[in-house]
């Protein structure tokens, strides 16, 4: 097959993934919404009734992951390189990492409920990628031709996926926490796990990928050394990677050595995650520096 055919196939795979995630979104929404039953005097839940819908949701998440992964791989094949050369490609790969992190965590933890926010976030990311960021598949400029690009970017994208998952959980924590402090969870939220569980889970995720993020930053430095003649140059992208790193280090210290839990920890987690997003969005689009030559 030619490069162009691979590129077309990749696009179709991405569209299919979007379609599948849309179904997943609705299935998860139905699961939550229709488990409410209005009795005579009170409102109750019957999750047995909507369990099927939840399972359809998970199946669609898996299928979407398959499509999305194929889309990313085909994109790489069409360009003869790792598919991380511009923002469109970062976005589809990032979405892949994010939903992959969800599916991976689903094996270990009971968090099918996260399917709703995860499918929403993936759809938004893919939608933006296709509508705004799309670029035809093309080879890389010489500076991006390096094994370290593959290593550095894959580590960064996986870390990003897990950081954002931790953020989603921390945000859920804050919402539920607010409900509880106002007298109790809303009906739809009763099925979600306990606050303590969410608090622990977001910490675990961060502790789990923090070394990987550290590695991503270091791999970036090694690559910068071989491409640009310095391993650290305070380029905006580097600066913000450093800030993200410090923010998560602060989060870990706050939890481990000062003993922060709950609301404050969740806010700190959200803050740290937002430095990551800021780096991705602001620095890529409006920033200056050497990382912005990817043609978006």
């Amino acid at each position: 097959m030619t490069s162009r055919q691979f590129a077309y196939l990749s696009n179709y795979a991405i569209y299919s993934a979007m379609f599948t995630y849309t179904i997943a979104f609705f299935a998860h929404a139905v699961e939550v919404a229709f488990s409410v039953r209005h009795g005579e005097s009170s409102t109750e839940f019957d999750f047995a009734k909507t369990d099927k819908s939840g399972r359809i949701g998970t199946a669609m998440m898996i299928l979407g992951q398959v499509f999305l992964t194929s889309g990313v791989l085909l994109r790489g094949l069409s360009a003869h390189r790792a598919p991380w050369g511009n923002m469109y490609e970062f976005s589809i790969t990032g979405a892949m990492a994010f939903s992959g992190a969800y599916l991976f965590a689903l094996i270990k933890y009971k968090l099918r409920w996260l399917g709703l926010p995860v499918s929403t976030a993936v759809l938004l990311t893919l939608g933006t990628a296709v509508a705004v960021l799309y670029r035809p598949s093309a080879p890389l400029v010489p500076a991006l031709k390096s094994t370290w690009l593959i290593i550095h970017v894959s580590a960064a994208i996986i870390s990003g996926g897990v950081f954002l998952l931790a953020n989603t959980i921390a945000a859920t924590y804050l919402i539920l926490d607010r409900m509880e402090s106002r007298g109790g969870r809303n009906e739809w939220a009763k099925k979600l796990p306990s606050l303590e569980y969410l608090d622990q889970l977001s910490y675990r995720l961060v502790a789990f990928v923090f070394p990987l993020w550290t590695f991503a930053v270091i791999a970036g430095a090694i690559w910068a050394e071989s491409a640009w003649g310095r391993y650290w140059g305070w380029d905006p992208k580097e600066t913000w990677a450093f800030i993200t790193w410090i923010a998560y280090a602060a989060y870990l210290h706050a939890r481990v050595t000062i003993g922060w839990r709950g609301r404050r920890a969740a806010w700190l987690c959200l803050f740290a995650g937002s430095t990551f997003l800021f780096n991705y969005i602001y620095v890529n689009i409006w920033g200056t520096g050497r990382h912005t030559y990817s043609g978006l």
Binding site: P139, K145, E225, G229, W232, I243
Partner: protein
């Protein structure tokens, strides 16, 4: 602990030292370093983009000069940034070294005594059977460190957590040292070299060169490079660069037999701590200037600077040895095209159909005023224009006082030459940091106690609420209560 008189002499110093080396301070400094690095990503920096800084200063008036006064355009070398960095460094050392010594001393030691009351610990339980020997056998098999007393047993596991933690923090110190070494003992410079020319690694060969405080031209590594070929490949559909390949004949040390070497964007040429990078490329048109008698007053390649992705390049040719002095403002177009809107422009970055646009000026070049001049610009304030023409390859322009011929072109490359003796330490620091981090984040540190009195009691304590302790205690309980 003399805190009664915190304001006098030595106690004050000691108090300050303790404050500085507390973990809270270190963390605060770390946060501060993060915050202090933000302005550097929002304002243009001299080290990265001096032109943008100049533009910013020109358009922002008083605000700009105030920002400049507080070094917002040199954030990473500013006194305030360095102060945070140094304080953090000292704080880390003061914080981590004592802990390291303590940890080393603890290696041979046994776990601490069993606490008197186990019932306040986690997973406290009274067993229906078993004895200390049985517990010890199980804990030994699980590689706990054990302290056996007459009727109690104290076991601990997970020392690697603190080892990893210390390794990580010591590595941070190593990285900070490496950065310091690099900036004090290193050097960094750039030089533009035409294909066919030779570069000798001495300070005068550079267009720009900066030394660390303890580095000088004496200690520069000795080598020379003769640039024999430069090949740039571009995608015919998108004009995007695909590959750059520089071929040099290198001699190290200077005068040694030459060897052929290839330099590419991601693979610099390395001599010890010194690396030579291919940074940028462009074109130098080759011209011959003759006076009115026909004798040659200037001949050679003149470096022009690229202005766009298709390498339209501009520059100046100065001929001081004519009377009056002659200067040319030029624009080199590697692949000529034109349309009504843009006029003449370059349609492709390779040289397929070159043109040289020249405007000719006569008068005073202003070279002997003592003010350094850019070689790429002509100061036309004391000159008058006497001609304008677009030349194809081989064509000449006659301007009365003489003539100029467009003979050809050469490629030039911009070499960046960096000597960083600290970077290997930084790399080791980084590798150790990751190992330390993994050890510390994924080791569960916990203690388990067993007491035998009237009944056998067990309990434990997990540091940092590490998970899994209760399961472990349950296993121990089952093992001890089984009658085998």
């Amino acid at each position: 602990m003399s805190t009664e008189n915190p304001l006098g002499g030595v106690p004050l110093l000691r108090w300050m030292w303790r404050q500085l080396t507390s973990m809270r301070t270190a963390l605060l400094l770390l946060m501060l370093l993060g915050i202090a690095s933000i302005p550097g990503s929002l304002f243009p920096q001299r080290t990265q983009n001096p032109m943008k800084v100049r533009d910013y200063l020109a358009t922002h008036g008083a605000l700009g000069s105030w920002l400049d006064r507080f070094r917002f355009f040199d954030v990473y070398s500013s006194p305030w940034f360095s102060a945070i960095y140094l304080l953090l460094f000292i704080s880390l050392i003061g914080c981590v070294l004592p802990r390291t010594l303590e940890h080393l001393r603890a290696i041979g030691k046994k776990p601490p005594l069993t606490p008197r009351n186990l019932d306040r610990m986690e997973g406290f339980e009274t067993l229906s059977g078993g004895d200390l020997d049985k517990a010890e056998a199980w804990l030994r098999k699980k590689r706990f460190r054990i302290r056996r007393d007459e009727n109690s047993l104290s076991a601990e596991k997970g020392y690697a957590r603190e080892s990893g933690n210390l390794l990580f923090h010591l590595s941070l110190i190593l990285i900070l040292v490496a950065v310091g070494v690099g900036s004090l003992f290193g050097s960094k410079g750039e030089a533009i070299v035409n294909v066919g020319e030779r570069f000798i690694n001495t300070p005068t060969s550079y267009d720009s060169l900066s030394f660390g405080k303890f580095q000088s031209d004496q200690s520069m590594s000795s080598f020379s490079l003769r640039v024999t070929d430069f090949n740039a490949k571009y995608d015919p559909a998108t004009n995007a660069p695909q590959d750059y390949r520089l071929t040099v004949q290198a001699a190290q040390p200077i005068g040694a037999p030459e060897e052929k070497k290839i330099i590419k964007v991601n693979s610099p040429l390395t001599y010890g701590n010194t690396k030579i990078y291919l940074q940028a490329n462009g074109y130098s048109p080759v011209v011959t200037v003759r006076d009115s008698t026909g004798s040659i007053t200037f001949h050679g390649p003149v470096t022009f600077l690229p202005q766009d992705a298709n390498l339209t390049s501009t520059g100046a040719i100065k001929v001081p040895d004519m009377n009056p002095q002659i200067g040319f403002v030029g624009s080199f177009i590697p692949t000529y095209d034109r349309n009504a809107k843009r006029g003449a422009f370059s349609a492709f970055p390779e040289v397929l159909d070159p043109r040289l646009l020249l405007s000719v000026w006569k008068g005073n070049l202003g070279l002997d005023t003592g003010v350094p001049q850019s070689v790429y610009r002509l100061d036309t304030s004391k000159m008058t224009r006497i001609g304008l023409k677009q030349l194809s390859l081989g064509e000449s322009l006659n301007f009365g006082e003489g003539s100029i011929t467009f003979d050809g072109w050469r490629s030039w490359v911009n070499l960046q030459i960096v000597d960083d003796p600290g970077k290997l330490y930084a790399l080791f620091g980084a590798i150790f940091a990751i190992f330390g981090l993994l050890l510390s984040l994924f080791t569960r540190q916990r203690r388990i106690w067993v007491k035998s009195g009237n009944q056998v009691e067990i309990a434990g304590l997990a540091k940092n609420a590490a998970p899994g302790l209760l399961e472990e205690l349950a296993q121990l309980k089952k093992w001890m209560e089984d009658d085998i």
